[in-house]
């Protein structure tokens, strides 16, 4: 889990050599890849994160249903080895374009769409137990951090509270970022940028010694890894603040125990100790927000019923929240707090909750 530097070119090279040896032995070349997706994930009760099961798929070159993917896997592996050796970084879309060409002697493309190359990258990560970041691949950046923390990114050193109201945009890869000086008591992760901007304007970070992280919807890998590292390396508690609806709650659960899709990364991305600060259904009564709720749509209800079944939401308190949500038939957004006053969230709602530890598990 620590940043134990791995010899990535050697790992990739050995992966290729195994295939090469199969070919020399005239065996049917195959690649063993752990299965991803719902059928092969489980909730690890001890570690409190979503984990990958032990089911494997075998990708055979001689099976026409697999041949193309087999070729794509080798192409991506080969490309990544070059990236790492040349010390270059490429976006996953760049990788797609770099490798896209017509297969020699046919009219077919190596890749027809980025949705073909993305899962291949994840295949390699799981099969070789290395991170995309270690393959020098980056995803589009989304989300930012604001607060009194001095970061070192390559040659640059800066304090994330001195970069203006926009904070520091967190890149897709944060493995090499160094935390030089942290002057904060906790990390507050906020679903919407609008709410984060509100808190910055209210000088919430300074007044409460908090690091604000806006994830802007489902938290991207860079943000998740950053939160994970702040928690693991700097022992900062993590509080999550989202809309009071099934989507917001799922954002929280992903930050806390990882996602099904990236279950193989849960240990590096998840923060099992994270706490949920709001919005909750109880806030509606507590703060008199009945007038500013939104009606649930059928889709929302369906989603609630779905996540109620997830093992990690089986906690009594969460089940009660969801039942209450279905019963009231409403959802509540973070920004509904503005109904009280613009400062309300920064001056009363959040400090009170943190002070009194009014959290959901």
């Amino acid at each position: 889990m620590e940043n134990k530097p791995q010899n990535i070119p050697a790992i990739l090279g050995n992966f290729g050599l195994e295939i090469y040896e199969q070919i020399l032995k005239e065996e049917s070349p195959s690649i063993k890849i752990p299965q991803r997706g719902k059928s092969n994930v489980y909730f690890d009760d001890d570690e409190k994160v979503i984990q990958l099961g032990d089911k494997f798929s075998k990708r055979h070159f001689l099976n026409v249903a697999h041949t193309k993917k087999f070729m794509q896997t080798v192409l991506v592996a080969s490309y990544c080895r070059r990236l790492v050796e040349e010390n270059k970084h490429a976006g996953i879309r760049e990788l797609y374009y770099a490798l896209k060409h017509t297969v020699e002697g046919s009219k077919e493309n190596t890749f027809d769409d980025q949705i073909e190359s993305n899962p291949i990258i994840e295949d390699l990560e799981t099969a070789l137990d290395i991170l995309r970041e270690e393959l020098n691949l980056t995803a589009d950046r989304r989300g930012y951090i604001y607060g009194d923390i001095v970061l070192k990114d390559g040659e640059d050193e800066f304090n994330a509270s001195k970069l203006g109201r926009g904070g520091w945009a967190v890149p897709g890869t944060v493995e090499e970022i160094e935390f030089l000086n942290v002057n904060a008591e906790y990390v507050l992760v906020i679903e919407t940028a609008a709410m984060c901007d509100r808190l910055i304007e209210e000088k919430f970070a300074n007044k409460n010694n908090a690091l604000l992280v806006a994830c802007q919807g489902q938290a991207p890998r860079g943000i998740r890894r950053l939160i994970n590292r702040l928690h693991e390396e700097k022992k900062l508690p993590v509080y999550v603040f989202t809309d009071g609806d099934p989507y917001g709650w799922y954002i929280y659960s992903t930050i806390k125990q990882g996602s099904m899709n990236l279950a193989y990364l849960s240990r590096r991305l998840g923060v099992p100790d994270a706490k949920f600060i709001g919005m909750t259904m109880d806030d509606i009564d507590e703060y008199g927000l009945q007038k500013v709720t939104e009606k649930l749509k059928d889709m929302d209800k369906k989603r609630i019923n779905e996540i109620m079944e997830y093992e990690w939401f089986k906690h009594k308190e969460w089940q009660e929240q969801m039942k209450k949500c279905l019963k009231l038939g409403v959802r509540i957004e973070q920004q509904a707090l503005a109904n009280k006053s613009l400062e309300f969230v920064a001056k009363e709602y959040l400090p009170q909750k943190i002070e009194n530890e009014v959290f959901l598990p």
Binding site: Y20, I33, S57, L62, T67, M71, L75
Partner: protein
Amino acid sequence: MSETKVKHADEIFKSFKMQSVSEFFKKNAAMLGYTGKLRSLTTLVHEGVTNSLDACEEARLFPDISVYISEIGPEHYRVIMEDNASGIPLDYIPHVFGKMLAGSKAHRNIQSRGQQGIGVSGAVMYSQVTTGKPTEVVTSTGDKIINKVNIKIDVEKNAGEIISRETLKNPDKWRGTRINLEAKNLQYNRSKYGPYSYLKMTAIANPHTRILFVEPDGTKILFDRNVRVIPKNPKEMKPHPHGTSADDILSMIKNSSATRVRTFLVSEFTRVSTKKVEEIEQISGLDLDINPKKVDWEYAEKLVNAIKQITFMAPPTEGLIPIGADSVKLGLEGILAPEFVHTVTRSPQTYHGGIAFIVEAGIAYGGGAGNNGLDIIRYANRTPLIFDQGGCCITEAAKSIDWKRYGVKDDNAPLTIFVNLVSTHIPYTSAGKQAIATEEEIYNEIRFALMEAGRSLSRYLSGKRRAHEKLTKKKTLLRYVVETSNALGSLIKAEDNSKIIKALTDIVEKKYDFEETNGSEEKANQILEENGAEEVSENGE
């Protein structure tokens, strides 16, 4: 009124007679096949070709038949047909070409092609009725002379009349007969009702025959000989008691020399033993020792009723001459050049309790088979049935089969279905003799034959599909070999990618060579590939 001259009876009768024969022809044109411009032309060709085939068969010769059709005016055609049969002696020419309703096989219990009873004289008549011209017949038995005659039908005498005659020298010992006639109200095209289709079908069912055909536009088509065996001549068979009517019995008695009914029954019928006669006697209560000449209608009817209640051995079938599955196969292959052929000759069966028949069927797929989809070609005693397809037992039986079950995936599949019904008595639906009545036993036999052929087709098609899939898979795999090898080469920093390319190519080639000799491996891989998903295994470690 008194001034009017009274006509003599002879005069009236003469014109009546004259009228009656041509009237007969006109009234029965449909029955005789002379209806519609295209069909009339086909019938002209049919009569000539059938005559030639029969003549060659009887003389044990391989038929070489030529048919030339040329357009000489609007709806006006010349038809020339030539064969290499034994030729016709001069004295017999009027009989063969002039006598209507004089078929030699009409009243015999024998398998015959035509059964029309009018034959080539109908062609002469049609020509005469539409153009007033005689038919030219050139024939030689292969001796020193060739007879060239112009013949007309004397409607009064119902006999052929030689209008003019010429004798030519025959230095090359030519043998055969050539008919040259012209007729109007005709039309030529290549539809399935025309002479082209008729000759093609004839060639399939008579693979020992060579037919040269010249179309009006000069196109020459050769339907070549594909079999070096002349079919056996059909034998006349005694009738089986089942399927005999009171009328049949009375007319048989006329030609019998038996002195007692008892011996008449044993000698004139097949499968009637003295023991069976005793049974007939018991059941009917008739005196079977009377002279057959004394048998009246009532007696005959009682006899028939008794016969119906008795079980007889099935009729002998040596009189039935099927084409033979091998010959049908060669015929279909030779004419249609299909990818696949399967033919079946079923064992003899009876319908109506006593009429023997044999069903022969064949399926040809691909190549020249089919006619923009399913093409059913029907034969009765190897004579093509061209018209009335819809109402025919063969069509019904062929269409009752779900061809999809036999791997024929779409309606446009190139499929020819061949069915020949062989019998001494073909149950036609009408006097036109172009459709077979749906007798249950015949219908079932046709279905069985087609299903048997269908199973073979199904095996062929699935094999073909598998081979095709295999080839496609191999191609797919080979397509990725170079790309994968190059990527692998750069991943492991190999010095020479061509070594990987070769090794991987070998693996692919080997897999498919191996599969060809190992069914279970193929099956296993097939199942794997059908599932599409990547193979899943639990990791027990």
